[in-house]
Each structure stands twice: as C-alpha cells, then as structure tokens.
C-alpha cells in the first residue's frame, strides 16, 4: 500500500552522517551505538562468569573471569555493521582473540555455535572465528563493556552482521554439522556477510 512515488518527508535527514563509499550496500552511518537486544539484559557477576569451549567430542574447557583476563588481549579497531541498517566506523575494542582460546584444542569441526547468558545463540563457520577475525571483547571505547552492549564480554566478529557478535557470551560449541542459531532459524541469513548484503535466507 506504499504510495507511489514514495512520500518524502521535507527536511528529514535522520540521525546520520552523509553517505560514504566505505559502507556495505543498504547501510547508513550512525555516530552513536544503538542498543539492540532480542531479550532482557542479564545480570552477570564477574565471580559467576564462565566461558566454556566445548569441542565436537564433548570435551569442555572453561575459563573463569580471572583466568580469561589473564590471557593476552589485543586492541581492535574496526567498522561494525548491523542488519537493522546502521554501520559505525572505527570502533575501538579490547578482547582476547579466538585464536588464543582455540589454541591447542584439537578440532575437526567446521562449525561453531556461540551461546549467550539469556539463551541467545548464533552459528558461524569455525574458519570465521580463526586467523585474527574474531575476539571475545570486554572493553569498548576504553571502558569496561556496558551490560546493554553485551558486558561483561561479547563475541566480536565484525566482518559479519552484528547479530553474529553474540552479546553476554558464555560459550562456544564446536560442531561437525552446522545448525542454525536464534535468528538463523527464522529467516536471517546463515552466514551474514554485509558486503554481499546477506540479510535473509537465500540472499
């Protein structure tokens, strides 16, 4: 029922900077950091926080907060792209590379499921977590990661749409066979490459 031609709101530009050639298709630039969640923000005490890596054979390796924070961390400066169509450039994070967490773990799996406090899940090819492409981030913009942005720690896989960067991460399970996560089971693209605009099934 959209009128044709579309009705343009005179003088409306929205909360964005002018367009830029460095943005993936269909994305708009934002200056702030919208809070997007599919559920309530869980309250996680650092004493209770755990990160568990489960292999395809069921072996579990867990890190407490202090063990996790004792791992070498790196600073990451990256653009992020949300499927709700905003992109934010040059965001600065600190996190532990998945390469560090996966080191020495014998893995014949090809896929991974990220799992969050609160029940959210998202699936990725294991290859997309390796080779300096993914981190468990615990600082954003020089501050401890705020709960509404996924703190104490979230997955950061910035080369894919942001729904893959699970907030409130509590574990990753390696899988021989792929399974869809929370949104991937309901129309969202299984891979989610913003540069190929893979928003939905079949994109």
């Amino acid at each position: 029922m959209t009128p044709d031609p579309p009705i343009v709101s005179p003088g409306f530009v929205g909360r964005r900077r002018a367009g830029s050639a460095t943005l993936p298709p269909g994305q708009y630039l934002t200056e702030d950091f919208p809070v997007l969640s599919a559920g309530p923000t869980p309250t996680i005490r650092l004493d209770d926080w755990k990160f568990a890596l489960t292999t395809e054979s069921g072996d579990v390796r867990t890190w407490s907060w202090s063990e996790f924070r004792a791992l070498p961390s790196v600073s990451i400066t990256t653009d992020i792209h949300c499927v709700t169509r905003w992109s934010k450039l040059g965001t600065v994070w600190e996190g532990v590379s998945l390469d560090t967490l996966l080191e020495g773990i014998p893995a014949t799996a090809s896929f991974a499921m990220a799992e969050s406090y609160g029940g959210y899940t998202t699936n990725l090819p294991l290859a997309d977590l390796r080779d300096g492409k993914a981190w468990i981030a615990f600082r954003y913009g020089g501050e401890d990661l705020a709960p509404e942005h996924g703190g104490p720690a979230r997955l950061l896989v910035p080369h894919l749409y942001l729904w893959k960067s699970a907030k409130w991460i509590r574990g990753i399970t390696l899988m021989r066979k792929d399974r869809p996560g929370f949104w991937e089971s309901l129309g969202y693209n299984n891979y989610g490459d913003p540069w190929r605009e893979q928003r939905y099934w079949g994109d």
Binding site: P40, E148, W183
Partner: protein, 88 residues
C-alpha cells in the same frame, strides 16, 4: 530503572497488525514455558527490524518470534500454547 530495550505488546500493535491482519494485542496468550495466560499487550516486545521478539512478562521466554524480509515474513509461535482471539 530498567535499561532494557523492551516496550509493551501494545506498542508493537502496528507491526503485529501488518503481519497478522488482525489485532492480536487484545488476545489472551498462554506461555508454553510457564503457563501464564495474559493479553499479548502485556508481553514484552524487543523490536528491531527485521526481528521482533515477544516475551512472556512473567518468565521472559519467547512467545512469538517474527522476522521480516523484503516480501517475506517468518513466524515462530512455538512459545505459545494458544492464542484466544476475540472474534466479532
């Protein structure tokens, strides 16, 4: 004060109406997880296009998940035991 980004079910009435063509916010819904029965308007809605999640106001379990792509809409209603609609 809650920092959560949800609104009431009634705030999503427009989106729900455009999906279902009838107003379900006035309908009673039973949560498949905890059994609570309440109008859809009382559920907590996390709505960020293209995804909408309606959660039980008591146990936070998802009642209804909706994703909307160009020309396609996906609905997962596993979290609902039933919906009681008011029919004219």
């Amino acid at each position: 004060m809650s920092k959560d980004s949800f609104v009431d079910g009634n705030a999503a009435a427009g989106a729900l109406l455009s999906v279902f063509s009838i107003d379900i916010t006035d309908a009673d819904a039973q949560c498949a997880a905890c059994g609570n029965v309440a109008p859809v308007a009382r559920s907590r809605v996390y709505a960020f296009e293209p995804g909408i999640v309606l959660r039980c106001a008591v146990c936070e379990h998802p009642l209804l998940r909706i994703a909307r792509g160009t020309g396609r809409t996906w609905i997962d209603a596993r979290g609902l035991t039933y919906l009681e609609l008011r029919t004219p």
